[in-house]
């Protein structure tokens, strides 16, 4: 009992929550008891508490592998803001002297976030080995599975890292993992006896709404009408940066008393932080964004998530729509589609992986390198430039080449028979991947054209039942917009002031309401 109180006290004192959400406590207790655990918790249910809390109260070090640098950095910032200072994110953005100084002081930390790529480094592993690693966490664990919606080859090598670190307790977490993916995770980590803590991912306060329109123009008209009617925090997801920018501009012109901006991964860091924080702070009502936005965003009152483009997989849709209504209040996921939409994702799927010409080019290039006695460039960027392929494509190649023993410690091993074999096997693999992604897209298309309950048919791939909706179920079960009365944010008139007045305000000069 005392243990339980300790957990609750820590939760309250360090994280500011009064009670655990579904699953958190069970997973934490497993980890503290030294049992490996696979936790599947819905988006927005506070997955990160599951390892942040043990890291804070347990002796020794917790390592968290996370695929997204921005996500790591956001979490570190948030933890530091919450006065948990012994945390760091080690990533490839750090410059060498900075990284070196961090490597030399690893013992100062209790929680270390690291990218899967860096965990391949002998230097880092060697240093971590000397520390007392108690808990090894794999965040977004579905990345380990070929059948997950964001396969990351580097994740497959994690079991080696776990072994090298002398088998700490393993915690694998994901928000979206089908039973097939769950099996894959357990297999790839080589931990058959993991506790499985699987919680339903359905969100009872989200209403699903599907609307067919003729084209993009009509999509914008629909959004103008809805967003003009309600003043609510909303996110609009796009698959292209340009579309996000343009739509933000159009909507701003049409909805003059709404604050609208765009956000995507191509923006400068300072601008990205600015938009995120404005949205958190209520200075912005609507953000037009790509999937880069939202990970690690802790805003509880997002009322509406619109998808302007088709998601490529139901898994990513569930994650994105799950950012709505974390406060439990009535929220809506609206997907707008036009008959033409199915073509865009098809191209995106093709571009994600290298094509046949890329493969031939790659092997030819490697052969030239062998003849000139060259090694594989250590910088990925250099290889990407030489081969004219994107980062994901090169990473895919590199993993395959290492798997087939063609690249060993950056040296290229030439053996004709093996190369022939590898070439064929890579070609087949790509074909399979594209086919698999196509099937996932077909699931999305089938769901969109669903005549029956959207809720049931969205979740059926992941779990057998779902909770009764708290407010409205979906547009196929009788939801109409006139039934929706969400909490609205008050209108704040922005008036133009002189720069002198604004400067005074931002610096709190002459401000009487200060805390001192």
């Amino acid at each position: 009992m005392q243990d339980t109180n300790l957990l609750e006290d820590t939760l309250k004192k360090q994280f500011g929550y009064t009670s655990f959400r579904t699953g958190q406590k069970e997973i934490i207790q497993d980890a503290l008891g030294g049992e490996d655990v696979l936790g599947i918790l819905p988006t927005g249910s506070g997955k990160s508490i599951c390892y942040q809390l043990p890291a804070r109260i347990q002796e020794g070090l917790t390592i968290v592998v996370s695929p997204l640098i921005s996500l790591m950095i956001d979490q570190v910032k948030e933890l530091k803001a919450n006065n948990f200072k012994e945390v760091i994110a080690i990533n490839s953005f750090m410059n060498p002297p900075e990284r070196k100084s961090v490597y030399n002081s690893l013992y100062n930390y209790k929680l270390i976030y690291v990218s899967p790529e860096l965990l391949q480094q002998q230097e880092l592993i060697g240093r971590l080995k000397r520390l007392d690693v108690r808990l090894f966490v794999i965040d977004e664990a579905h990345c380990i599975s070929q059948w997950g919606h964001e396969f990351r080859p580097d994740y497959l090598k994690l079991s080696e890292a776990i072994e090298a670190l002398n088998h700490p307790t393993v915690m694998a977490l994901s928000a979206t993992a089908t039973p097939q993916v769950q099996e894959d995770i357990i297999k790839a980590l080589n931990r058959p006896n993991m506790n499985k803590r699987i919680y339903p991912m359905d969100r009872e306060n989200i209403t699903f709404c599907m609307e067919e329109v003729a084209d993009d123009v009509e999509k914008i008209e629909r959004m103008t009408r809805i967003l003009g009617k309600y003043r609510i925090p909303a996110l609009i997801y796009f698959t292209s940066r340009v579309a996000a920018e343009n739509t933000a501009r159009i909507l701003s012109n049409r909805l003059e008393d709404r604050n609208i901006a765009f956000y995507h991964g191509g923006m400068e860091q300072i601008d990205r932080i600015s938009i995120q924080q404005q949205f958190m702070n209520g200075q912005l009502d609507i953000v037009c964004c790509t999937s880069a936005f939202g990970m690690g965003i802790n805003k509880s009152n997002i009322r509406l998530i619109i998808h302007f483009h088709l998601p490529l997989q139901l898994e990513s849709y569930i994650q994105e729509v799950g950012r709505a209504g974390r406060d439990g209040k009535s929220s809506i996921g609206l997907l707008l589609y036009s008959p033409k939409d199915a073509f865009i994702p098809k191209n995106m799927i093709k571009n994600e992986l290298p094509d046949k010409t890329d493969i031939t080019n790659l092997f030819r290039h490697l052969y030239t390198m062998v003849q000139q006695g060259m090694e594989v460039a250590t910088s990925n960027e250099q290889m990407e430039n030489q081969l004219q392929i994107n980062e994901t494509q090169w990473k895919f190649f590199r993993f395959q080449l290492e798997k087939h023993g063609i690249i060993k410690n950056n040296r290229i091993q030439f053996q004709e028979e093996n190369w022939r074999h590898a070439l064929l096997s890579i070609e087949t693999l790509i074909k399979e991947r594209i086919q698999y992604k196509q099937e996932k897209l077909n699931d999305v298309l089938r769901w969109i054209n669903e005549k029956e309950c959207l809720r049931r048919n969205l979740y059926k791939f992941f779990q057998e039942t779902y909770k009764n909706p708290k407010y409205h179920c979906c547009s196929n079960c009788g939801f109409t917009w006139d039934k929706w009365k969400p909490d609205e944010t008050p209108l704040e008139k922005s008036h133009s002031e002189s720069w002198q007045a604004k400067l005074k305000k931002v610096l709190l000069v002459g401000n009487v309401n200060e805390a001192e």
Partner: protein, 351 residues
């Protein structure tokens, strides 16, 4: 602004360099060629003023200027441009509004970002601390800025109110140098307690500028602020503190500096190349870089006084800085490396 700067650069390059040399100049490429060009063509102001510029963005602007008839391509010359008559008129007409006098790129490009980020983070930290709110997300991850603010906040925290007041007074005076609109844009970018500054794109929409111009305007303003602070460190004591350890003297690259140390120990170029596992050409680049900044550079060690004279004569007669043209008019014993050294040392004498 961006258009004006591109046109000015093309104008000054007199068709002797390709457009990508302008791109490198604005990005602040550390190559010796770029730095030397900045000196030769008197484009020092613009060096490194747009470090986040992408090639794509640059090329788009260039093509637009061609499409609008302000630029012509030079015949038979790949990717070289010159101003059209309309271009010349445009530049003349807009001269007053280009704000080129704000910039001091070559001197400040390395410290601009750090200075600006420190200022932004300091304002955010002090105002939030004043309201006893410590859970804010910093506007920047820049380590140098974080470290500096963390360090100085310790000494400021007991007198937050006074520091904020002086910061306000200083900023008021500094921003008062600028036109209303520029000052207003600068203030809109600031983040304080529960007020988050606007992004580049939000600023460009609000002030009806391009994203490029917002970036350049802010950079130019920061340069001007730094210049002003340097002139009166007492009046702008907090800003001076932010600038304090950001030296402008450290102009040569780390690697060139290493080469310089070895040269001073009398190692030969070949020895240094072997020791450092670098190509001889790279060591040559280092030496040209050193020559650019070292007023006591021993030019005579590398080229005889006689040959130096010959190069300078050709330079003055040719009235061109194209290395190839110069080389062709010279005694063939004189290498490109030697010509570049003469150019570097004599950059101020020429023109």
């Amino acid at each position: 602004m961006f258009d004006g700067i591109i046109l000015t650069c093309i104008d000054k390059l007199q068709g002797e360099r390709t457009a990508s040399s302008i791109y490198h100049l604005l990005k602040g490429k550390k190559s010796i060629q770029t730095v030397q060009d900045a000196h030769i063509y008197h484009l020092e102001k613009y060096y490194g003023i747009y470090n986040v510029l992408t090639k794509e963005r640059f090329n788009n602007n260039l093509s637009r200027l061609v499409a609008e008839g302000l630029l012509n391509t030079i015949e038979n010359e790949y990717s070289k441009f010159q101003l059209s008559t309309i271009g010349v008129e445009w530049l003349e007409e807009h001269k007053e509004h280009l704000k080129v006098e704000y910039f001091n790129g070559l001197t400040y490009n390395k410290i601009t970002d750090v200075f600006y980020l420190r200022l932004l983070l300091l304002i955010q930290t002090l105002t939030n601390a004043k309201m006893n709110y410590f859970r804010f997300i910093p506007v920047t991850d820049n380590h140098s800025a974080e470290r500096w603010v963390k360090q100085h906040y310790q000494t400021m925290k007991t007198k937050k109110k006074e520091v904020i007041q002086s910061l306000y007074d200083e900023l008021y005076n500094l921003l008062d140098m600028f036109p209303e609109q520029d000052a207003s844009l600068f203030v809109d970018r600031l983040t304080g307690y529960q007020t988050i500054g606007l992004s580049t794109n939000q600023l460009s929409e609000k002030y009806m500028l391009t994203d490029e111009d917002v970036h350049l305007l802010l950079t130019g303003m920061v340069h001007r602020i730094i210049t002003t602070v340097h002139k009166d460190k007492e009046k702008f004591s907090i800003h001076a503190k932010i600038l304090n350890d950001l030296s402008e003297t450290n102009l040569i690259t780390h690697s060139a500096n290493k080469t310089n140390q070895l040269l001073k120990k009398s190692y030969t170029i070949n020895q240094i190349a072997a020791m450092r596992n670098l190509k001889t050409n790279t060591i040559h680049d280092h030496i040209v870089e050193i020559a650019l900044y070292d007023s006591d550079f021993p030019l005579d060690n590398y080229i005889s006084a006689e040959d130096q004279k010959e190069v300078i004569t050709v330079l003055n007669n040719e009235n061109s800085f194209k290395l190839k043209d110069i080389k062709e008019s010279l005694n063939e014993n004189i290498s490109y490396f030697q010509i570049r050294l003469v150019l570097a040392v004599n950059k101020k004498v020429l023109k």
